[in-house]
C-alpha cells in the first residue's frame, strides 16, 4: 500500500454551519463552522471543556444541534438518528462489548446486513488483519489489553465502511510508548483506508503529529483551522500560540501596517522589519504582542561572530531533555525571562546557571499577534 496517498479531491465530506449547542443554561458550542475534506485526517484540538467532544457527538448524531446544521456527504443530518448516519465512532473508553468476544464485537454492526456467516467471517478476518489482530477472533473481551481493545474498536467501526470515522481521544488512556506507537499506526491506517478521520484530542503534540489539518477550539468556538505547520508558526492569537508548544511573548508596537514596509518596535529587540505573512490576522498600528518560539532563538557561543539581531542575557536555569536542552534566560529590559531551546548536537556544551549568554534570533521568526489578555 502506498504511504503517501495525498488526497486530490477537495470534496467537502462534512460541513458544519453555525452549529450551536446549549445544554440548558450552558453554551457548549457557540457557532461553529468548518468544512472537512474527504480523506483528511482532521483533528479537533482544545483544552477540556472547549466543546470538541460535544461537536464530535453532534456529528455522530448522539445529540442534535440547538441551532445551525450539519451536512455529511451532501445530506442534511437534521433529525437523522445516530444509527442512520454514515459515520462511526471510536469511543474514549472503546466501549467494547464485554459479553462478546473479538469477532462478535467486530462483526456486531454487520449482523443487521444479513450477509451470511461466511461473508461476515471473511470481512471480520480482513479487518482483524488490517489492525494486526489476526487470530484473535475467539478472544473474550475481558482478556484484551488497552491497546488491543483500541484496535478492536477501530476494526469494529471500520468494517462498517463509514464515510467518516470519529475518534474521541482514543489514545488518552494508553501509556506514553504505546501512545506514540499508536499515533504512527493510526496515521498509516488512515492513509491505507482512505477514510476521513475526525480526531478529538487535548494533546497538541498528538494533533500536530497526526493531522492534515487541525481545528483549535476554545470555549465552544473554533479559533483557527490550519495545517500543523501553519498553526505552529502562524498562530492566530496569543492563546493559540500558548496552547501549541511553548512561545515567548514580548510586548511591542506595530509601527506601520499591512504592506512590505511593516515594522514592529520589539522593545528590547529593537525595530524589526517583518513580512505581512508574519501577521496571521491583519492588524493596525498600535500595541501588539510579538511571539517567538524557543527554537527560533539561539544561544551563540564565544567563538561565533556577532549577528544582526543579538542581545545579551544571563542563564537562569537549564532543563536537559536528552535531545534538547531548554534554557531560561534573563535578558535586560525584558521582564519575563525567555525560553530558548538548543539541540544537543555533538560537541556542543551545556551552558551553566549564572553564565552570561548571547541570545540571537532572526527577523522572520517573529509572529505578530493581537495584543490580548490570555
Amino acid at each position: 500500500m502506498t504511504e503517501k496517498l495525498k488526497t486530490d479531491s477537495k470534496k467537502t465530506i462534512v460541513e458544519l454551519n453555525g452549529v450551536v449547542k446549549h445544554f440548558g443554561e450552558i453554551v457548549a458550542l457557540d457557532g461553529v463552522s468548518a468544512q472537512i475534506r474527504e480523506g483528511e485526517f482532521f483533528s479537533l484540538l482544545g483544552p477540556s471543556g472547549c466543546g470538541k467532544t460535544t461537536l464530535l457527538r453532534l456529528i455522530a448524531g448522539f445529540e442534535q444541534p440547538t441551532k445551525g446544521n450539519i451536512i455529511i456527504d451532501g445530506f442534511q443530518m437534521h433529525g437523522v438518528e445516530a444509527n442512520e448516519r454514515p459515520t462511526n465512532m471510536v469511543f474514549q473508553s472503546y466501549a467494547i462489548f464485554p459479553h462478546l468476544n473479538v469477532e462478535e464485537n467486530v462483526g456486531y454492526g454487520l449482523k443487521r446486513l444479513n450477509l451470511g456467516k461466511d461473508e461476515t467471517a471473511r470481512r471480520v478476518d480482513e479487518m482483524l488483519n488490517l489492525v494486526d489482530l489476526d487470530n484473535y477472533n475467539k478472544r473474550p473481551a475481558h482478556a484484551l489489553s488497552g491497546g488491543q481493545r483500541q484496535r478492536v474498536a477501530l476494526a469494529r467501526s471500520l468494517i462498517m465502511k463509514p464515510k467518516v470515522l470519529l475518534l474521541d481521544e482514543p489514545l488518552s488512556s494508553l501509556d506514553k510508548n504505546l501512545r506514540e506507537q499508536m499515533q504512527v499506526e493510526l496515521r498509516h491506517l488512515q492513509r491505507n483506508v482512505g477514510i476521513t478521520f475526525i480526531f478529538v484530542t487535548h494533546d497538541q503534540e498528538e494533533a500536530l503529529t497526526m493531522s492534515d489539518r487541525t481545528a483549535v477550539m476554545f470555549e465552544g468556538q473554533i479559533v483557527q483551522i490550519a495545517t500543523p505547520q501553519e498553526i505552529y508558526s502562524r498562530p492566530k492569537s496569543k492563546r493559540v500560540a500558548s496552547f501549541i508548544g511553548v512561545m515567548n511573548f514580548i510586548e511591542g508596537q506595530l509601527l506601520k501596517g499591512g504592506d512590505q514596509n511593516t515594522t514592529v518596535d520589539a522593545g528590547i529587540l529593537g525595530n524589526v522589519k517583518v513580512n505581512p505573512d508574519q501577521m496571521p490576522i491583519p492588524l493596525i498600528s498600535g500595541p501588539v504582542t510579538i511571539g517567538i518560539r524557543p527554537e527560533m532563538l539561539t544561544l551563540l557561543f564565544e567563538d561565533q561572530d556577532r549577528i544582526e539581531f543579538e542581545i545579551s542575557g544571563v542563564i537562569l536555569e537549564s532543563a536537559y531533555f536528552g535531545d534538547m536542552t531548554y534554557y531560561t534566560v534573563q535578558v535586560k529590559g525584558l521582564e519575563s525571562p525567555l525560553t530558548i531551546s538548543m539541540r544537543n548536537t555533538a560537541g556542543r556544551r551545556v551552558l551553566e546557571d549564572g553564565e552570561s549568554a548571547r541570545v540571537g534570533w532572526g527577523a522572520e521568526s517573529l509572529v505578530i499577534l493581537k495584543k490580548s489578555e490570555l
Binding site: A60, F62, E81, A82, N83, T87, N88, M89, F91, Q92, S93, A95, F97, P98, H99, Y108, G109, K111, R112, H142, R156, S157, M160
Partner: protein, 275 residues
C-alpha cells in the same frame, strides 16, 4: 485486643446457634417416628416423607404456589426492568417522588397491603383467586426487583449503548443485544428473589386467595392438626433444601455479575437496604 476478638468470636458462634435453633429441629422431627413434636425422640423413619406423596391437597397447594411464585417473579422483574431502566438512564418530571412511591411497599406491613387490596377487590366485586394473590405479591416484590436492577442498569456504561446505535442497531435491538445480556445476572437475581419471597409469603396470600390455596396458607391450616405436624416437618425440610439450591444459584450468578460488569456485588445487595 485479642480478648476482644475472642469474646466476639464466642458471641458469634453462640448467636449462630441461636439462629439455627429452630431450623435444626426440622430434620430432627421430620425423621422422628412419632406423631408428637417433642422430646424424647423415637426411632428414625422416612415415613413422613413418603406420606407427603399421598397428600393431594398439599400437592395442589404446592402447584398453586409454584404458579404464583413464577408469575410473580416474572411480572415483578418486568416492572422492575422498566422502572430501573427509566431511573438509571433518564431524567424526568417527578422522578424522585415516583421512585419513592414505587419502593414504598418495602416499608408497609404486609397486613395493611393485604387488607387494603382485599377491600378494593371486594368493592369492585372482583372474585378472589390465584391471580389476586399474584397481584399482591407483585406489588411487594417489585421494590426488591427495582433495588437489584437499578444497580445493574446504573453501572452499565452508556457508551456501550451508544456504540451499538452508532454501529447501526435500533434502540430495541440495542436493548436486546447489549443491555439485556449485561444486566442478565441482575435479572436472574431479581427472578430468584421474587420467586423466593412469593413462595414463602403468607399474610397477603391468606387475605387474597379464593378457593385455591398456596403452600403457606396450606401449612397454616395444617398447624391446627397435631396428626399432620410431622408431615409438615418433612415438608419444611424439603423446602429448606430447595431454598438452599436456589440460594447457591443466586450466589453463582452474583459471582458472574462481578466478572462481567467489574462491580462490587456487595454494593448491589447493599443497595437493597439503602433507600
Amino acid at each position: 485486643m485479642n480478648s476482644n476478638k475472642n469474646t466476639l468470636k464466642v458471641f458469634a458462634y453462640s448467636y449462630l446457634i441461636f439462629l439455627y435453633a429452630p431450623v435444626l429441629l426440622l430434620p430432627i422431627f421430620a425423621f422422628n417416628d412419632s406423631t408428637i413434636i417433642s422430646f424424647p425422640l423415637n426411632s428414625f423413619t422416612f415415613k413422613w416423607f413418603a406420606g407427603l406423596t399421598q397428600e393431594t391437597y398439599l400437592q395442589e397447594s404446592l402447584k398453586n404456589s409454584l404458579f404464583v411464585a413464577i408469575s410473580t417473579s416474572i411480572l415483578s422483574t418486568c416492572l422492575g426492568i422498566l422502572a430501573s431502566r427509566a431511573s438509571a438512564r433518564y431524567e424526568f418530571f417527578g422522578k424522585k417522588s415516583i421512585l419513592s412511591f414505587l419502593i414504598l411497599p418495602l416499608f408497609l406491613p404486609e397486613i395493611i397491603i393485604g387488607v387494603a387490596l382485599l377491600v378494593v377487590l371486594m368493592q369492585l366485586g372482583l372474585p378472589l383467586s390465584l391471580w389476586t394473590v399474584i397481584l399482591g405479591h407483585t406489588l411487594v416484590c417489585t421494590p426488591f426487583s427495582i433495588a437489584i436492577l437499578n444497580s445493574a442498569f446504573a453501572n452499565m456504561d452508556m457508551s456501550l449503548e451508544e456504540a451499538s446505535l452508532d454501529l447501526g442497531e435500533t434502540r430495541f435491538g440495542t436493548f436486546k443485544r447489549v443491555i439485556l445480556p449485561m444486566v442478565s445476572p441482575g435479572l436472574i437475581a431479581s427472578l430468584l428473589i421474587g420467586f423466593t419471597i412469593s413462595l414463602d409469603e403468607f399474610i397477603i396470600a391468606f387475605f387474597l386467595t379464593g378457593t385455591e390455596t398456596t403452600l403457606p396458607v396450606y401449612i397454616w391450616g395444617q398447624l391446627r392438626f397435631p396428626a399432620k405436624l410431622p408431615g409438615v416437618m418433612a415438608l419444611g425440610f424439603l423446602m429448606l433444601l430447595l431454598s438452599l439450591i436456589l440460594l447457591l444459584l443466586v450466589e453463582f450468578f452474583r459471582r458472574r455479575m462481578n466478572r462481567i460488569t467489574e462491580d462490587q456485588a456487595n454494593v448491589q445487595f447493599g443497595n437493597l437496604f439503602k433507600t
